[in-house]
């Protein structure tokens, strides 16, 4: 019984940690850690990633719920944006005299 519990069944799942460094900024991924549940993940994240006031808000997401794009498919995935330079303001030819635009 104890044998079984000390095995992998007792290991804590992995969580991805996102921190808002100050009000008005996005949460940013800072790393990952192990914790038994979300409350513990937040406490561990505080201890691991905000020992020097690096954050005002913490998000934790269990890693298994995070889905990522495949880098091998990057070429085809981003292809639709590749030839649409007209989405950028510098694409348009306008006279220098035109101000405030």
């Amino acid at each position: 019984m104890i044998e079984k519990e000390t095995g992998s069944s007792a290991s804590w799942p992995l969580w991805e940690i996102f921190i808002r460094s100050k009000q008005g900024l996005d949460h940013k991924h800072v790393g990952s850690l192990h914790a038994a549940d979300a409350a513990m993940a937040i406490e561990n994240a505080r201890d691991a990633y905000t020992r020097r006031m690096e954050g005002v808000s913490i998000w934790v997401v269990e890693s298994k719920y995070l889905h990522a794009s495949n880098p091998d498919e990057a070429a085809s995935l981003y292809d639709p944006a590749n030839d649409k330079v007209y989405r950028h303001p510098t694409f348009y030819d306008l006279p220098d005299e035109l101000k405030h635009m």
Partner: protein
């Protein structure tokens, strides 16, 4: 794509300083080298807490005690950043911990030396953390993204570790004759092991060339060692102390300090488990892990219970 093309593609990215991320293709040997280096590095942070924890209860003032606790807590954090970065390569935390506890994985042999006096806290901060920082700053530009990012954060935090160490020695160096003796004694004992922290000489370090090609390493062991010695030879003068090396002398022609021979026999002995504290350190680690098992299990049981309660409420 043929394997040769994929490998060339990989090396091209490295040559252009494009970082490799966990899901990107990488040669198996690159992955293996990184897992070995990062896990060793993580183990060193964790085992490195032990020699200093020895002095937390006996720190000479509240200020020193608070500092030492903060430093040891940082080291736990640094170990964690590095374990997490290594896990992105598919190795599990349990596997790494098992390898440390079974003696299969190494950690920096500097932590197998005992901390005999309070002055050792100063010498460790100045010399051991100083050598570690010298090694780690270039790793902030290592080619593997998660490793580099962890190293940047670690280096930012390590700076105070070195400064507080030097401050401890500075205070002792201006104290009583006994305190000055203690200061010199700590420097004498920690100097050579710190010099050895950079690893074997370049001609005895077979993996250096490959690691440099992969930009896991940016400088050779001997380059970093020389830089460390040059800097410390200057800093020790501020303490009014000396480094325990009769051959230490400025070489105008080289623009570096010359230094005496390193006792590689001792280095190998300590790495192979025969240092003064190898057994004690590993035993302390294993004991903490085994005796902490019930806490990990209780946390899992608590989490399960809560999640079951939530499900019942929802139903």
């Amino acid at each position: 794509m043929a394997t040769a093309d994929i490998e060339k593609n990989f090396q091209d990215k490295i040559d252009q300083d494009i970082r490799i991320e966990p899901k990107d293709w990488m040669p198996e040997a690159y992955r293996r080298t990184l897992v070995r280096q990062m896990s060793q590095h993580a183990h060193s942070e964790i085992v490195g807490m032990l020699p200093e924890a020895n002095w937390i209860t006996r720190a000479p003032s509240l200020r020193r005690k608070a500092t030492l606790i903060a430093k040891v807590q940082d080291e736990a954090g640094h170990g964690l950043y590095l374990y997490a970065a290594a896990e992105t390569l598919g190795v599990s935390r349990d596997e790494m911990i098992d390898q440390l506890h079974s003696g299969k994985a190494k950690y920096s042999s500097i932590f197998n030396y005992p901390t005999l006096t309070w002055a050792d806290m100063g010498a460790i901060g100045w010399l051991v953390d100083g050598a570690a920082i010298m090694n780690q700053v270039p790793l902030g530009r290592a080619s593997f993204g998660p490793y580099a990012r962890a190293m940047v954060r670690i280096c930012k935090e390590e700076s105070f570790h070195q400064r507080q160490g030097f401050e401890i020695l500075l205070v002792l160096s201006r104290g009583s004759a006994e305190q000055r003796r203690m200061c010199q004694d700590a420097i004498d004992r920690w100097w050579w092991p710190s010099v050895m922290m950079f690893g074997p000489n370049d001609d005895a370090s077979p993996h250096t060339a490959q690691s440099m090609q992969w930009k896991i390493k940016r400088f050779t062991n001997d380059e970093l060692r020389q830089r460390f010695i040059d800097i410390c030879a200057g800093q020790v003068k501020l303490l009014g102390m000396t480094l325990p090396d009769d051959r230490l002398a400025w070489n105008e022609h080289r623009g570096h300090y010359d230094f005496g021979p390193i006792d590689w026999e001792e280095f190998r002995n300590v790495i192979n488990g025969n240092g003064p504290c190898n057994k004690q350190r590993l035993e302390a680690r294993v004991k903490a892990h085994v005796e902490g098992a019930w806490v990990r299990e209780a946390a899992v049981a608590h989490a399960r219970k809560n999640s079951n309660l939530n499900k019942e409420e929802a139903a």
